[in-house]
């Protein structure tokens, strides 16, 4: 195994994060903090409790998930798209490094960044809202699983994209709406029965529900279903990436 190669890609990608600290870390932390200020402290104080949890505390897992999904996709898609855009991808393609090792480097770095951000936002949110974590290990597990899964998804988008517009279109047009409608700001049980059924087709519901369970022990859907759906999506991404490297799709002509 070319561990030096994996390390080189990983450190190269992480170096980009430290180089652009304001954009990579400060910006998502600040924007998520604004959600806490507006929905948690200002509006949240006038809202009723949901499942016995204050509204400010209720939205924390969903907001972390919202940021985690967007950042994982954005980091991983940008990581592989930029070498394609600048032409430096030639070096990765000509190196003695396997597809698995390439993915480990790029996706590992993207997921690491997202996890660091998730933990930073979690710490920041404690400044605005009082909450506790019922299952801390499960919380970290969910955080990691989601970060890796959506970084894999971002990697696919980065390979597929042949312009900056395409790089943004799926996160903006699909992922963000699904996150907002995935129970970030409300419990699925608050919806009319028909919409409760419709919303179960939204994969983000399972992520938010599982993550919220790790905080408060309450969930919209059963924990096993949440885990199962996340793992299923991860396997789908792994399958697609395997196909990409097998065929050379948009990487090798």
């Amino acid at each position: 195994m070319n561990l030096h190669g994996v390390k080189a890609i990983y450190l190269f990608e992480m170096a980009r994060t430290w180089r652009t600290l304001l954009q990579s870390i400060a910006s998502p932390v600040i924007s998520t903090s604004l959600y806490f200020v507006v929905f948690g402290s200002a509006i949240g104080s006038r809202m009723v409790e949901i499942d016995g949890i204050s509204y400010g505390a209720f939205i924390i897992p969903g907001l972390i998930m919202l940021m985690l999904l967007n950042e994982s996709i954005s980091n991983a898609s940008f990581g592989i798209y930029m070498p394609k855009f600048t032409g430096t991808i030639y070096e990765v393609l000509s190196a003695p490094i396997s597809p698995l090792e390439i993915v480990l480097g790029y996706v590992g770095a993207a997921a690491s960044k997202s996890i660091i951000l998730g933990l930073l936002i979690l710490a920041t949110s404690r400044l605005f809202v009082d909450f506790s974590i019922a299952h801390p290990f499960a919380m970290v597990g969910f955080l990691m699983l989601t970060a890796v899964t959506f970084s894999l998804f971002g990697f696919i988008i980065g390979v597929w994209a042949d312009g900056f517009e395409k790089l943004q279109i799926i996160p903006m047009m699909i992922v963000t709406p699904l996150t907002f409608l995935g129970g970030t700001f409300y419990s699925v049980n608050m919806l009319p029965p028909l919409w409760q059924t419709v919303t179960l087709f939204n994969p983000v519901v399972y992520l938010v529900s599982g993550f919220r369970w790790s905080f408060y022990g309450v969930a919209d859907v059963h924990l096993a279903v949440s885990l199962g759906m996340t793992l299923l999506f991860m396997l789908l991404c792994v399958g697609l990436i395997t196909w990409i490297f097998k065929t050379g799709y948009r990487l090798r002509t």
Binding site: N2, H4, G5, K7, A8, I9, L11, F12, A15, R16, R19, T86, G87, T88, Y90, E91, V92, L93, S94, A95, P96, I97, S98, G248, R252, T253
Partner: protein, 312 residues
């Protein structure tokens, strides 16, 4: 010398339907400088890209030091360094970081002393902390070479290394190539400056229309296909070539003041004395004479043009 790269029956057709390579057979010998010449679109870059792993091969086989580029790609690619034609660099990285990255990517542990040597050899040491975006085009080209050498390759591909490079850098680059060859590195280069290939390369391969037309030692190729000219400055002008000399390949130029004799560089060396004797018999006097041998460029143009005409 044993072969370090063996390409046999290699063909490549892109998804668009364009056939870039047709049944290419080419063996590169260990330690040589090999120049691959060909017009634009001849298939040079496709050939290099397949050997280096950037383009999927079609049919045929390619081995690098005995390792198949598909089955044993790690061993094959680890031996190769590539300097591509395009100046593709990580604009925001420093010179040191990008060269160190290349070394790691190719599976080598960090070796600051070696990276320093490469940077010094390429006059990049003073720029090691500079971001690549701040460098001139020539300096960026040096960085590309440093990246290709970072993992101590046995084989170096240089795709148009001197395109858009000033005279000084070009000279430095060829000195570096000579130094690498002395250390046993095999060098395969493409260039549009054919005089460079003539000066540098041990062997030359000409590719046109996706096919290798000829592979030969540079000197042998020039002897085989080259022509010579003998130009005689006449004391008195001639209107036409005298009928008594019509059996020779002669032409009158410079308003009749120059008689040009063209002959095969390999076969007709002995006829110069005969020509001069016969000129004397005809009473044709000359003041000066000089010979000119056709360059590799002349041969290249002839080969490619002949091929193009033949294909039509």
């Amino acid at each position: 010398m044993s072969d370090i790269i063996a390409i046999d029956g290699l063909s490549k057709t892109y998804e668009s339907g364009f056939t870039a390579l047709r049944d290419v057979n080419l063996h590169i010998r260990k330690g040589e400088i090999f120049a691959l010449l060909g017009p634009n679109g001849a298939g040079k870059t496709t050939l290099i890209s397949i050997v280096c792993g950037i383009v999927n091969p079609g049919s045929g086989t390619v081995t690098v030091d005995g390792h198949d580029i598909r089955r044993d790609y790690r061993a094959a690619r680890g031996r190769i360094g590539l300097v591509p034609q395009e100046l593709s660099t990580d604009a925001f990285e420093t010179v040191w970081a990008t060269v160190s990255f290349s070394r790691g990517l190719f599976g080598k542990p960090a070796n600051p002393a070696y990276v320093e040597k490469v940077l010094r050899d390429l006059s990049l040491w003073d720029k090691r902390k500079d971001k690549i975006m701040a460098l001139s085009g020539g300096m960026k080209r040096r960085v590309m070479i440093a990246k290709a050498l970072a993992h101590e390759p046995d084989i170096l591909f240089l795709d148009e290394p001197t395109a858009g490079v000033d005279v000084e850098l070009r000279r430095d680059m060829w000195n570096l190539v000579r130094g690498l060859r002395e250390r046993g590195v095999t060098i395969i280069l493409t260039t549009h400056y054919i005089e460079e290939a003539e000066e540098m390369a041990d062997r030359v391969g000409v590719i046109s229309g996706g096919q290798i037309i000829v592979v030969e030692h540079t000197r042998t190729l020039m002897e085989k296909l080259g022509r010579k000219e003998l130009r005689l400055q006449l004391a008195a002008p001639l209107e036409t070539v005298p009928a008594a000399l019509a059996d020779l390949n002669l032409a009158v130029e410079a308003d009749g003041y120059e008689l040009v004799y063209s002959f095969d560089a390999r076969h007709d060396q002995g006829d110069i004395a005969g020509l001069l004797r016969r000129l004397g018999e005809q009473g044709i006097e000359f003041r000066d004479l000089r010979t000119r041998e056709s360059s590799l460029e002349d041969i290249f143009v002839d080969l490619v043009h002949h091929r193009g005409t033949g294909d039509q």
